[in-house]
């Protein structure tokens, strides 16, 4: 079973990101959307946690949400950028979706 986790909260404002990391098993994908995209930016504790996470977990960020916030140039290494079509593909490829709120 593979899960797609989506996070839409800033890692600085809620513990959603940290909680999700504890539930992200190998083979799953964590997609950062809306205010969740701040976890994907360089020189933050969240980006450090992504770097140290299991290599079996894939991290992705929704490009349009990153662009809206002016942070395209600050994307940390090891995080894949997807567009809305890519988001749909991730939903289709995984067995189910856990939308962390």
């Amino acid at each position: 079973m593979s899960l797609l986790h989506t996070i839409n909260k800033s890692p600085f404002e809620s513990n959603t990101f940290d909680t999700c990391l504890g539930y992200a098993l190998d083979g799953s994908t964590v997609l950062l959307i809306e205010d969740g995209v701040y976890a994907a930016t360089t020189d933050t504790s969240a980006a450090e946690k992504i770097k140290n996470a299991s290599s079996g977990v894939t991290f992705a960020v929704l490009g349009p949400d990153l662009q809206a916030r002016g942070l395209e140039g600050k994307l940390a290494d090891g995080i894949k950028v997807v567009d809305y079509e890519g988001f749909v593909n991730l939903v289709a490829e995984n067995d189910s979706v856990q939308s962390w709120l």
Partner: protein, 134 residues
């Protein structure tokens, strides 16, 4: 009307919720009343001022250019908390450069942004008469 010291405290990032836009609208409306206005950007609020915001693909209005008009509304004291920037891997270079024109000095352009520590901002906050939090 007596002039009061107003501070608007911004702690939310833009677009994910409506707080940032609502705050900006209240600031602009309030500016019509000639009060002594300060804006504080703390925590994720600093993200409101990032350069290069492009909201085309998310279908929301990009309101970030409006911040540059604040100077024309005599909103000239914009406090950015240093600790919040650092925690987010940002520097002032990542934010818009906001200025105002000083009528008393032949419209000389002056910086609106004041980079301050949490302790310094706490002192400024303590001097306020009315604090509105977003």
């Amino acid at each position: 009307m007596a002039i009061k010291k107003f501070m608007y405290v911004n702690r939310k990032p833009p677009y994910g919720t409506v707080y940032a836009l609502e705050s900006l609208e209240v600031v602009l409306i309030g500016a019509a009343f000639d009060q002594d206005v300060s804006l504080a950007f703390i925590g994720d609020g600093v993200y409101q001022l990032t350069k290069g915001q492009n909201t085309e693909a998310i279908g929301q209005k990009n309101f970030s250019p409006v911040y540059s008009a604040l100077g024309d509304y005599e909103v000239t004291k914009i406090y950015i908390e240093k600790e919040s920037l650092e925690e987010r891997g940002l520097t002032l270079d990542d934010l818009q450069h906001l200025v105002w024109e000083d009528e008393d000095e032949d419209y000389a352009e002056k910086d609106s942004i004041r980079l301050v520590s949490r302790a310094e901002l706490a002192d400024v906050m303590a001097e306020q008469e009315i604090i509105l939090s977003f």
